[in-house]
Amino acid sequence: MSKRQSTYYPKEAISKIRKVLNKSKGMVLDENLLNTVENICQGVESNLKKKKSETAKLSKKSVIEDESKTLEEQIQEERKIFGNIMEVIGAGLCLLDKDSKVVWANDTLKEWLDLKESPIGDHCSNIYHCDVARTDKCPAVRVFKGEEGHSLESWVTTTKTKKRMYIQHIAMPMTNKEGILENVLLLTVDVTKSEKLVHRLLLLQQFGEITQGTLHLDKLLHLILTCITADYSFGFNRAMLFLINKELGVINGKLAVGPSSLEEATQIRTEMSSKHNSLKDIINRLDYSHNIDTPLNTMTKLMVHPLSDTSEVVTICAKERKPIIVKDAAKDKRVTGEFRKALGVDEFVCVPLIAKNETIGVIVADNVYTGEPISEDSINTLAMFVNQAALAIENAETYKRLEDKIDQLTETQERLIRSEKLAAIGSMSSYVAHEIRNPLVTIGGFAKTLSRFTFTDSKIKTNIDIIVEEVKRLEKILNNITDFGKSSTLEKVDTQICKIMEDTCILMESYFQEKHIKLHKRFETNIPEISVDPAQIKQVFLNIIMNAVESMPDGGDLDVIIKSVYKSLEIDIIDTGKSIPQRVLQNIFDPFFTTKPSGTGVGLPVSLKIIEDHGGNIDVKSKHGKGTKMSLTLPIK
């Protein structure tokens, strides 16, 4: 308003003066004065005009300035919004020129790619470290060529957070005013989450498919833990599996998978190919020996908790049948100091293994090396996976039980066949033996009566002696065979096995000396008495020690060890003699099988029969050049 006033005021004033002048034309005498005033008015008017046009010019300029200022503000505003958006999206941006050189890059990208210096001017391959640079697979190259398919995915590791990310690069064309393609904008997006999700689902599916067929239990347990620790799926650093033993009422560590140290963790990460391996590849690549002796695995296997102990997080998890996330083990009352110390980590998750409505174990997983927080989301998928795993374990266990039963059955069958064979051989041999024994008695008996007479020819006496001796030998063989055929009842009494062994060794002392055998006895103290037939057991010891001595014609060492192992006694008789060849080893318990020139081939079968009648077993190990180890086991109860 004030502007208008100032513009109109002189004009009005002048027209007022003009009016006054016109009116006073006749009245005013001094024409000159009037003319002067007239001139002044004209001057003011022209001046006014001039000023007016100047003012108009000026105001026009200020409008332009105002506009550019607003535009600038707008640009700033938009840039701010754009920056915010970029930040929210968390995307990396990079502008490339036609030579794939970096024109500009944002901070997110610099952070992700771990760039310490400004990348401007660098070739893109120097900062992205991708192996498709300059090839047709490069999205930027494709865009410059005007092709479709402008995205590429790859794994990167940001060293700052040690987080492995799955990123997607999307190339977009940027044209100039004339519509000519000048630059390519590379948009880099973190798709780790969705990628992981996809793989988890894929994993679940693959796992389901694979476990539909029955797997070996050990292999399955390994597979489950490998899935949990696989970087591209659940990505936990370590996973430990505990299984419930219902018989003993405990939950104990079975297997653990994961690196034992930070160095190992880094190494494994670098070894892992960026491509997501299919589960089948993992199974084929599973290397048991690698993981068996890791400190982590050993530690896990040593962890046993009674199910009744409700102060331990694994037993709580097994009882409550819900996943437990421990955020701070030091403050969490469910975690004992011992468990925390063993794990060496404050944040971990326990997930119960539930199969057919029954808890069969617990899986514990943590991120001890990366320290990455465990999200609700990952636990949910983990729980889903673990449920499936539990079913698979249950299946494998059932299968294993079945397998054990089949093994038992086969063994029983074999034993039956052997004992039937023994029985058949026994009855036949005893028939033959008796048929032979009677005439032998007569021959030998009469031959002996002859020795009472005196002969002029000394040859007759010698010949008679030969007949007598040979008959004796035959009778001895018959005794062995008839003893074998006989099914005697066991006369079991509580016996100290060490005593029997001691007696046997004393009995053979002179024999050992003669054959230059050094005897080493190692009897564990506190060997309990067991119920056996002492005479028969002594027979077994004699047979086996005799064999051992015979395998050392040039002398050697004989170790006799008695120890208690779990619910049985183990008696080891170890020689340093000629070993038993593999093909012979298969037959040593077959009746009448012998490699000895004067053997009857019943010593070992009889020994085995006696030990089996006592509920025990004989195990033979023979190594070429190292001798033979016979291990007898007898049950304590």
Binding site: R437, P439, V441, G445, F446, K472, S488
Partner: protein, 122 residues
């Protein structure tokens, strides 16, 4: 003189035992099966019986049972080629159990032992 009743179906063996036992100074009466043995026991009243088991007509176990049924004072020694009768409770009734061998010294020893015991008991 001590009379031994020898029950043995094998002819040659019987001959052997007769010879050997006579050489030891015993009077030997021989029977080739259980039935004959029963008759001889009635007739000759032996001091001791040496009994084979596997025999035709009547086996040694049955014969022993019948002999002991009539006169349980007569000692019986079982002399057989089979060792498995040792476990048969029927043979427990015998005073001794010998598995036949060409070496007759065990048999001779047992006869002396059993006779000594008999004379001590009576």
């Amino acid at each position: 003189m001590t009379t031994i009743l020898l029950v043995e179906d094998d002819k040659n063996q019987r001959l052997l035992y007769e010879q050997e036992l006579r050489h030891e100074g015993y009077e030997v009466v021989a029977a080739s099966n259980g039935k004959e043995a029963l008759e001889e026991v009635q007739e000759k009243l032996p001091d001791i019986v040496i009994m084979d088991i596997n025999m035709p007509k009547m086996d040694g176990i049955e014969a022993m049972g019948r002999i002991l049924g009539k006169n349980k004072e007569i000692p019986v020694i079982i002399n057989t080629a089979y060792s498995n009768y040792k476990d048969s409770f029927m043979s427990w009734a015998a005073d001794a159990y010998i598995v036949k061998t060409s070496d007759l010294s065990e048999l001779k020893e047992k006869i002396k032992e059993v006779l000594a015991k008999k004379s001590k008991d009576s």
